[in-house]
Amino acid sequence: MMLTMPSQSERQPFRTAVLILVWSWLLLLVLLPNLLVIGASFMSRDPSDFLSMPLTLDNYLRLVDPLYLQVFLHSLYMAVITTALCLLIGYPFAWALARVDKRWQTLLMFLLIVPFWTNSLVRTYAIKLLLASNGLINSALQSLGITDAPITMLYTEGAVIVGLVYLLLPFMILPLYAVFEDLRRELLLASHDLGAGRAATFFHVVLPLTMPGVIAGVLLVLLPAMGMFYVADVLGGAKNLLVGNVIKNQFLDARDWPFGAAASVLLTLAMAVLLLAHRLSRRRLGEEGET
């Protein structure tokens, strides 16, 4: 946070009011709840009051229990695949988006934003309708005579990944679009001019300069992909749990708040590591990369 109180703040009542509002918002609704979660993760479970003393590290030790470790690794695996797919689709998409005619750009951006007008849970159910055994895709395939029996698509790892990619792709494209917009065409020309072919230009100029966008996109996709429990609930069946499902189950079903809190602290830590990487990559580009 770069917000600092100016010394002459008393002379600017509006500015002071806005700063107080923003800071109270962040302190009350972001910092405080996070501190509560961290605090809860070190406490013991209590069947009636949810939390109780004594303080303990047991909750973190339980995270490495093979049962949970397996869920965590499988969730990470699905999230990595999701992120890779989003990157694979989103990178060329964002590049093209930044290059097309301004008129088309507005339309494409609009199409990219439109899905946000519908709740993501509703959209997840829409995917379920497409993938179900008696769903749209299977009926189409059968009535066209391409398949005889329905293909099992729903309640598979693939279904969860399809759902996650569908929901998270815009979050990959938007930061990438921003860096491609900043990427000056002259830099590519300069690279060609100095003797670099297409591949060399991509690896030495385009990729390093769009890296902040890649990392920002990965940040916005990888962690939500581990947390979007309702996608796994609706599309994944019992075998394809996300870390988000574990956290939700601990809080709502198992009523083990400390353990759920510990799992969510783990996710927050992973986020912090990625944020740090993002900062470093931007600093490498210097102030010019910041604007």
Binding site: L189, S191, P208
Partner: protein
């Protein structure tokens, strides 16, 4: 005389149906400093981009030392570009930027280090090799851009208005430095600018362009003193224009009538006949402002005086309403030199210092 290094033949280029270059011919000589001069939209930058290979011509040919350049992509053309906004790679150091071209040639590490160090020394940036471009001033970034292009030892260096982002003083300094670099390296420079002063002071030859057509190609002196058409005359420096009618032709001299005043002038190279309309052109520094009681010249009134340090520029409205700009060097011994505003004067010039062009229909002579 120098050999032709790059020969441009019949190059045309259209954007969205609009002609930017119209069947342009140009020979660039080996080792020269050639400037493409013209107003924005005249096609000078497009020509440069065609040479660099960033654009493809609709028709015509480019031949570099006997080799057809058309099928050669930019990365394999033996010429390099200094971009208007420098286009330095922001994620690389100064050294990295300059070394980039040599790395692409897969030169050995020692050689790259040696050559980059040498060229950075040449542009006085050896102390800043580890800086990133954003840590440099505009002038320093400019030097990096030049170093990055010349380190590859191109046959031809293309410079696209490289000094336009610098302030006046720095620009003057970089002009001198570019000239020095060009002499030391012996590389052919093709320099694009819309600044006629810059073009005159730096170039061996200037190519004046307008609407995709070459107007005149010549030394700065030819361009300035013997313009081949009104456009060149007006674009390069200030020009006073006197429409005139030929009254008589007597061998090497002709009698013309300028605004009712008969003048006896030297005949120029183009053929003239009695009754023909011509334009008599005079640079402001060729104009002499005389006292009102002088026995020759056009009568007028001083309406503006601009003190320019080394010269005094006066704007004089002639009695027929036309304006004449005079730029005179100070003459301490001439008490009559300083005119008051509103003072009646006469305007004349030294015989033979005028320049003459035939008036053709294309000349929008009236719209001075």
């Amino acid at each position: 005389m120098s050999q032709t290094l790059l020969s441009v033949r019949g190059i045309s280029k259209h954007y969205a149906g609009k002609a930017v270059l119209r069947s342009l011919d140009l020979d660039i000589l080996d080792g020269e400093f050639l400037t493409l001069l013209g107003p924005s939209g005249c096609g000078k930058t497009t020509l440069l981009r065609l040479l660099a290979g960033f654009e493809r011509a609709d028709s015509g040919s480019l031949t570099l030392a006997g080799q057809d350049l058309s099928p050669v992509p930019p990365e394999r053309r033996p010429l390099n570009t200094v971009f208007q906004q420098y286009a330095l790679f922001p994620h690389m150091t100064v050294f990295g930027n300059v070394a980039y071209g040599l790395k692409m040639e897969k030169r050995p590490k020692d050689e790259i280090h040696q050559r980059v160090t040498d060229v950075l020394g040449m542009v006085q940036l050896d102390q800043l090799a580890d800086r990133k471009p954003h840590q440099l001033s505009g002038g320093q970034q400019q030097r990096v851009a030049i170093a990055r292009a010349v380190v590859k030892r191109p046959r031809l260096l293309l410079l696209d208005e490289p000094l336009s982002a610098l302030d006046y003083k720095l620009r003057r300094q970089m002009q001198l430095e570019l000239k020095r670099l060009q002499r030391e390296l012996g590389i052919t420079f093709v320099f694009v600018t819309h600044d006629q002063e810059e073009a005159l002071s730096m170039s061996d030859r200037v190519a004046v362009m307008r609407d995709g057509v070459l107007q005149q190609l010549g030394t700065p002196r030819e361009i300035y003193e013997r313009p081949e058409n009104l456009f060149t005359a007006r674009f390069v420096g200030e020009t006073n224009l006197f429409p005139a009618r030929v009254m008589a032709v007597n061998g090497e001299r002709i009698d013309v009538d300028i605004r009712g005043l008969p003048c006896d002038l030297r005949k120029r190279e183009f053929p003239v006949v009695v009754g023909q309309q011509v334009n008599v052109l005079l640079r402001p520094e060729d104009i002499r402002v005389l006292a009102a009681d002088a026995d020759h010249g056009f009568a007028g009134t001083v309406i503006e005086r601009n003190y320019k340090g080394s010269t005094l520029d006066s704007l004089i409205r002639l009695d027929d309403g036309n304006l004449v700009l005079a730029s005179e060097f100070f003459d301490e011994d001439d008490p009559a030199f300083d005119y008051r505003l509103g003072e009646p004067v006469k305007v004349s010039w030294v015989d033979g210092w005028e320049w003459m062009l035939p008036m053709d229909d294309a000349d929008d002579a009236v719209a001075v």
